[in-house]
Symmetry: C2
Subunit: 277 residues, 2 copies
């Protein structure tokens, strides 16, 4: 039997009773600073929540990032808040060394059972096929950025920041999928993955010459069960104001349907940051 894909292995939680869970934060989803990517940490939280939820799909997820999540052991406590006919609502906290790192409130539903009106005033990005695009990361990335080994990003033209020439582009469109694992297998997206993939690509503010960004709050809305295959994405930052910035993200599945959207509020790097105490 072949081992599970890294995304499933590294986000697994173990129930230890009374709505408590343990998890092991892997170093395979780290950012340049060596701490865990926020989307990866959120996936662990959603695994704990989904273990208690009556429904499979995290349709509305709000994550508040309190402190950096580091590779190593973590504990999670889940509070079920409400069971409704169409929505289950719950909250969890990811704790390391007795300190709360992430707090998440999430609404779960069964999207396959959703029915009602559909009216979309938007379209997926127009992109050449993935095989005619280039990889965003070209192998010259800094070593601690293991996150870049877990995903593939294909873009028509590499943004300026990747060659040290930030061009001020704050809107990018590209293809994304999980990278093949050691056995060459692609893991297809599911709704839990969608809720966190919105926070796993390079932030557009890098093309302003910034070297990073610290998420304060991220909201993901998962809008559909994704078809297998490459996802097309739009990432954009429209308002950088006094060091705070937004970032919007859309994911369209291989069949051309919008399946996830997110917005986050984040801080540009400052000499002294609020994070890490």
């Amino acid at each position: 039997m072949v081992a599970a894909h890294p995304f499933d292995v590294d986000t697994a939680v173990e129930a230890i009773g009374e709505s408590r869970y343990t998890a092991s934060v892997s170093d395979r989803w780290s950012l340049v600073g060596g701490h865990a990517n926020g989307g990866y940490a959120l996936a662990i939280c959603l695994q704990a929540l989904r273990a208690e939820s009556a429904y499979p799909d995290p349709v509305a997820v709000s994550a508040n990032y309190l402190r950096r999540v580091e590779p190593g052991p973590a504990e999670l406590t889940v509070e079920p808040i409400r069971q409704g006919r169409r929505l289950w609502v719950g909250q969890t906290s990811l704790i390391q060394d007795g300190r709360e790192k992430v707090r998440v409130v999430a609404n779960f539903a069964d999207l396959a059972a959703a029915s009602g009106r559909t009216e979309v005033r938007n379209a997926p990005p127009v992109l050449p096929p993935p095989e005619e695009c280039v990889e965003v990361y070209d192998g010259r990335r800094p070593t601690p950025l293991t996150l870049a080994d877990r995903l593939e990003f294909r873009i028509p033209e590499r943004p300026g920041w990747t060659r040290g020439e930030p061009g001020g582009r704050l809107e990018e469109a590209f293809w994304m999928r999980f990278a093949p694992d050691d056995h060459g297998r692609i893991r297809e997206p599911d709704t839990l993955a969608l809720a966190v993939l919105v926070d796993m690509s390079a932030p557009p503010v890098l093309d302003l010459g910034e070297f990073g960004s610290t998420t304060i709050e991220l909201t993901s809305h998962v809008r559909g069960v994704p078809a297998p295959g490459w996802m097309s994405c739009r990432a954009s930052t429209r308002h950088v104001i006094d060091g705070y910035h937004d970032e919007d993200f859309e994911i369209w599945d291989a069949s051309g349907r919008l399946v996830a959207q997110s917005r986050q509020l984040a801080l540009l790097p400052q000499p002294k940051t609020d994070q890490g105490d």
Copy 2:
């Protein structure tokens, strides 16, 4: 001494010790169904949070609407989560008759003290001055909609739904301010008001012929301390999918700066709804 403005009177909370508060939900901010507008209920929550916060401005607010808020007494419990150098994070629940109605996690900061880069790739809506626009609500609204008496909306042309002819416009731009109180005074916006004004106007889906919308989750990001005067706004819904829809909202202050943005996920009315159990 003249009494305070209805927004301040009706959102006031009273501390009863141990991070607990009481409030009285007024019937002056009700929707057609007679229950309280979600933005108004959120304002009460933010008053309780701000009473405990070290900083004045709710920069990132996520509200989960669990059940309808009804006029009458309410209790709130506040949990301070984290005090940082730039952000205070806290959570509150609004409870009526022992049942949790709204759960809010909010990040507060001091926006007047914020400094850092500014780069905006967006512009306020282009609108004729308020005095050349018409009121969205023209007096023929249903009686229970007291919310419409608390605010003024000025729009170049009334949307089709206001005359029973929905035109499928899912993006509107208009002016907004608090309505004059009984003494003719205008209450100017502040950052707490901005965080909830994003949810106090008619939803764009009314122009699809829908008669309402039930918010599941609302995230507000307050991006600046507003100048006094009319605010210009954009409300848009881009994705109605299987009965779920998003709604984005922008508020620009009288000096032309983006001061708030929000997104919510909501449900169109269905014969049997998830709300109200």
